[in-house]
Symmetry: D2
Subunit: 468 residues, 4 copies
């Protein structure tokens, strides 16, 4: 029990888990080059002695012990702000453990339906916290044919379902897609992907199992090759994290790890509670990313000597608008927080939904401004290796000079970062993630519309129309 060291974390991953990547079954991921970067990134969040971030990473829990702050249940605006700060400095491999915040935020409602489930949530939360474990957000089912509901599919397993129940527990079968960091965590925390109807009881299921549970397999995928040069790939060389295609092949789950097993009325509650925290993470990342875009746009413009170009200034102003609107939304979401009956606070739902949608809907167009400012060199810049080769490097240094205040290497790094973030494999991933994380545009619009006070808006409109 207690906090782990980075080394202990790495060691803990060699537990017999079944993972695949690029056609290979990998027996020990801690030794495999494919996992080197992702594990290193996630391990860093276990550096509790870090001078700069150590204090942020841990908190004193109600037992008096130190735990990773990802497990701190926010009870005030200040706690929420701290959580935002933490997430700005935490890898996604750790951040996904926020799935426990989602569970804890619905614990009261779940307990009302079945006290045992409420206790299970609490116990699993403490177990992971106290052992400094990590859990993945295991939510999206394959869904098959979208015109049909879960139980109407050609194959009844296209949504994760309970295939057997007995005194000891349940047996589940199915798969979950896009599970970020699934191979890098300790617990797979499974949530229903959406609301379920009365005749879909077998699909209203939520639970947590260790990654190395019998019957669990993970097929990995990442936008990034095994290793990337940090000069050429300043961002993706240390952001890469595999997504897992997680299979549950008749996996047994004991009752004390079950959070839902048939109570269809709660399925959408669980799904939405996770959605909120997922979108909150998205908005936090959006705030950082959009500020980065402004900085990159200004740098690339200055480096070319175009800082007085009115059209360039106009494009930068668009990037600023995007960054500032996002920043203000996040601020609002934290200040106007909401509270569960038991006193846990969470970000304002409408604010997060609106901010996330604004981010997603305008992401592509915003990147267009950055691409327009950057010019073609972003794509055709020679590699670091060519810079280091004295013959070709001499030419590169000579011809990429723009003015005395701009170092060619700095210029190359800035261009590389723009390409890496927005116009290469990681950039492509960013486009799709901006749009799809927390549901595609339709799902996001739906969540936003649900939370807006439309009755008040209608009343005001009727008054203005002279009716009321």
């Amino acid at each position: 029990m207690g906090l782990k060291t980075p080394e202990q974390y790495v060691e803990s991953l060699n537990d017999g888990r079944v993972t695949y990547w690029d056609g290979e079954r990998i027996d020990d991921i801690t030794k495999h080059p494919r996992f080197k970067v992702p594990i290193a990134i996630t391990a860093k969040d276990y550096e509790y002695k870090d001078a700069e971030l150590g204090a942020l990473r841990s908190f004193r829990d109600e037992t008096g012990a130190s735990s990773h702050r990802i497990y701190q249940i926010p009870r005030s605006e200040a706690d929420l702000a701290k959580r935002v700060e933490l997430l700005q400095h935490t890898s996604i491999g750790t951040a996904v453990s926020g799935v426990f915040m989602a569970l804890m935020s619905v614990k009261d409602q779940v307990a009302a339906a079945n006290p045992q489930y409420g206790e299970n949530i609490e116990r699993m939360y403490r177990y992971c916290r106290d052992n400094d474990l990590r859990g993945a957000e295991v939510i999206t089912d394959p869904k098959g044919d979208r015109k049909r509901r879960a139980h109407e599919q050609d194959d009844p397993d296209l949504y994760v379902r309970i295939v057997d129940r007995n005194k000891e527990g349940i047996v589940v079968r199915g798969a979950k897609l896009h599970i970020t960091a699934a191979s890098l965590v300790h617990e797979l925390v499974v949530m229903p992907t959406k609301g379920m109807r009365q005749d879909e009881t077998d699909y209203a299921v939520s639970f947590s199992v260790p990654v190395n549970t019998k019957g669990v397999s993970i097929i990995n995928r990442s936008f990034a090759p095994a290793e990337l040069n940090a000069f050429d790939y300043p961002a993706s060389s240390h952001h890469s994290m595999p997504e897992g295609f997680v299979v549950f092949d008749d996996v047994f789950v004991p009752w004390d790890r079950v959070f839902l097993a048939g109570e269809v009325q709660l399925a959408s509650k669980l799904a939405q509670s996770l959605g909120l925290w997922e979108r909150t993470g998205g908005v936090i990342a959006a705030v950082e990313q959009s500020e980065l875009f402004v900085g990159l746009a200004q740098l690339v413009t200055e480096m070319q000597g175009k800082e007085n170009d009115a059209v360039a200034q106009a494009s930068i102003a668009e990037l600023i608008t995007y960054a500032q609107m996002l920043q203000m939304s996040l601020d609002y979401a934290c200040r106007h927080y909401e509270t569960t009956p038991s006193g846990m606070v969470y970000p304002n739902t409408l604010a997060i939904n609106a901010a996330k949608y604004y981010y997603a809907a305008n992401y592509h167009q915003t990147v267009r401004y950055l691409h327009d400012l950057s010019g073609g060199l972003v794509m055709t810049l020679p590699l670091e290796s060519d810079l280091r080769n004295p013959e070709s490097g001499r030419y590169i240094r000579k011809y990429l000079h723009t003015k005395p205040t701009v170092e060619v290497e700095t210029r190359m790094r800035v261009y590389n970062l723009i390409r890496d973030l927005t116009a290469d494999a990681y950039g492509g991933w960013n486009f799709v993630v901006a749009l799809q994380a927390g549901g595609g545009l339709s799902a996001q619009r739906f969540m936003m519309s649900r939370t807006y006070d439309i009755a008040r808006a209608k009343e005001r409109a009727l008054k203005a129309a002279g009716v009321l």
Copy 2:
């Protein structure tokens, strides 16, 4: 001294002021049909006994007297919030007196250059407050050929300028455009339209004169005819306010009413201080208007039985995003207020600039959603008079029926409001005002870019690029 009644306000306007409208020189605007609606609207803000709004309209000033709250200098976030609330319930004819907030916010800087000016600002502020007067924001010069500066124009009067100075005061000549409510206030508070250079001292001028000062003429214009039916024009029948083309034909201004007379270094300070409050007013209006759009969109959709139409829902979600982003920005601007050395608070400059730009840049596209939802009937709906005519009215009632819960008259009022707000004379005015108030898009982008912390964004980008 002290608060005026609405009647006293109206009376006070018959003071010999020189106004023109539609080719006519109007000697007493209080008797003229053209001014009937605008004066009535503005007079309402003098109803201090009003059960609902009376308390909001006044405050106890530092002398212990009651004054109109438009003169309350905000000294805390709560004061700022109160001011926002006030502006949500105040006509533009009163709101323009906010020009004194602008002056007061730069008083310290102005006084540093010339203590007399600082005293003049303070005195004029108190004079207007204590006599319950109104002042107009007199700022935009005709500007002539934009390629040339003020003193390079064919006619040196294309920017308001000092043509003479003597012991008693200054003599000014020129014109100011788009002066909202110029004919409806007591004082014309003149501000420089922009920064001035060293060789433009005659153009760095600011002062206040009564509307009926010799040499002042106002040519009026409004989007609205003299009178409008409230059924057919639910909004513009009581929002119309003339803009004035204000001419200063060698107007004498005594020194004690002068706030700037040649100190070019202060010209842009004054211009910007007013700009901030103008844009704040714009954002407050935007918040209300955008919520109204949501309400109207939902109503018109429900009335047609299209509330389950996925594309209609998507359009409404866009309107919600717009409304919510604006609402969050205004909230942020007030919470993250800024403070002058002497303790006056004002909204966060960057927040207001970003919100105003977001509003302006997206206004047309947002209205497109509303127009798409509303259908052609918004334009072709018969008039109230045809509804009241029993023969035609019978047909209208029969054929505009959609379902039992929708009253035809209510439906008509809702459609009329949409048309009036977005697709008629007032609607056209709204399009241009959304864009141009507080400067066009370029000016707004410029203000936003100036206030964004671009150095921090660059530093973050360099760090992310591996440079710092």
Copy 3:
């Protein structure tokens, strides 16, 4: 028989038709101020002696007689081009007679179902052509609750329907909305508003009746007041045309004027044939309007001396793109025309649908560029009457000067045209018409998607994916 003079046209309108406007039943529209401008506009198209346009207005029909060219059935690309040219110089009051092109283009199919209907179409076409009459496009039903089909509405009359059939003909009841120029034509040519299902036979109805038929009433509406000054309203002073709310109160239609009476399978054919010609008219207008926007944008920019402003140039370039894309689409639609079995040619359906959608979807945003370039003066410009008043006029001339090459009156006319077209009552109408004519955005997308060769696109995609 034969061509009418403008005077004969005007006279012909005093035929006892039942029209309402602004609460008044108007017995003779040719004497009423409300109709003065619309009738004058429409009468102009009867000026066959006009030096410039006379030749364009008429053609020699197959009987050797001269008829208005609106009745010329295009049989070649050149004919189509001529028709486009005609429509560029024809008022909407005449252009709506294009409804006969729609009928003629489906005549073959209609005749296949019932030869009598085919003959009726042909006969009515010749009758109107040979007597130089005008017909209105009477299509949009009130539709009531959109969730329900025609026969499921609370009131079965919410779609025009056959209430009785006998040996002599049919009796119809219902209303049609947004009928442009309904009161200004001779024939009301009624078309089904959309496809009908098997159980909606009474709603699959098409016919033509004279405007003064017993039981027909028209309630009029226009964006424009009775008369407008051509200086202040350069466009709407001569473009105003009332839309009619047309009621059929048990109107008898003899069989020889019936084009459809229950053949549900043909209802959508008729609706779509008219839709194509309506949208074609929309695209022709769009081409002209968008070029006008470019010209106005350039003029207003030059008049302010901002022609070298890079941001202004960028905005003008957006307007050029819009104009040029529309122009190219119309060209394509005519060159890639389609042909009916009997040799009538009509514009390429997909091209027209795509162009119309592009126009509609981007109209608001395009106007934003124009509004941004124009500045606030577009809204606050004094009226002509104030310009003509020597006292105020002197000031206006002095202060609206920008440079020697720009006449103040010209400047005012240009600003007035921008306001009139895009930011006043007519401007509002233009926004809604751009979007809604030919169906709102959803309907337009639907039409476009239906006509695109999606199978080919899929095949190409599969090939590119390595599947085929």
Copy 4:
């Protein structure tokens, strides 16, 4: 002389050219894995016996010999259409030889300044054609600080310049960026990057030299690694083509290969002539790509069973609009071709410029629709190798099933193509190329504005305003 075989082409590349890639100086590119795919792609265009494309690839030139059709000078609309068809089936490695079309289109003007240059153009064109060589479009200079002109840079070599002239020829120094296929062609055809002023005579230079000329070095870069799996990367596995950073280190060019050497008045002519053909190529690619997007969008939607989802349909309609507008523009550009004095025809300049700008400006937003339709699986789909692994493959096949008509492998290929084209390294390259090819948005707007008949638009606006 005469047509080469693919093998001869490959052989011809081993000529001692100096190329670098990834830090390595590559002596024989025909043996290096990095160049394997690009060379194979380009070699395919030498397959003149190909059953399907052979006839398209060659034409009979005026000498009666067979030459690659890329060298056919279009003299009619049909020729132009043929060229478009050719370019739809030709790799970029061959297509860049279109640089000779640019030179030939300005030959008459160049000859007027210096007959020798005209002869050189003609001779080099024939030489390359008759020997079946390929030439690269060598145009973009590094440009250094954009605030300064060529001769004002810190290093005078930041634009390619003449450092010496003598009887035999000129000596040039400098570099050119983004030179597609530079290492894969035989001739580097150098053009000035933009207009030059009177004091920049050394920078107004154009010529052609063999790639293996002494002093020429090329540093290569591509979005793609050496080899890619065609299942996972259906597009980029056979589209990859390196861009070259081409250095001229005191390269001697004999006079008979010089097309311009100091005639500053012609510099922009040459630059623009190439720009037109570059943009034409861009529009041709855009037409194909946009149709592909429609096909992919429809496939991915059907595969998920969402083809009746109204919002999905609306998104597909946006993709159709984009594809159709582009297709119509290209058609217009060919039909409304322009002609040089000597009878060479080329696409309509305005049409190409407008289409290219429309493509570029809307590319990002259009991809957003595709990304929204595709869902997250586009990013997280397992690799082919995992599909082929029996253990993981079994799960993939089971859980990616949607309905009987959709094969899982087909589904995977379609998703992979979407990712590859729009959300991976090649996708990133596509974003930037769509925007930057033919100049960024500003340059494209500038070209479009120059070619639009703004005088006519102004005249029409003045007429409509009542002035003319």
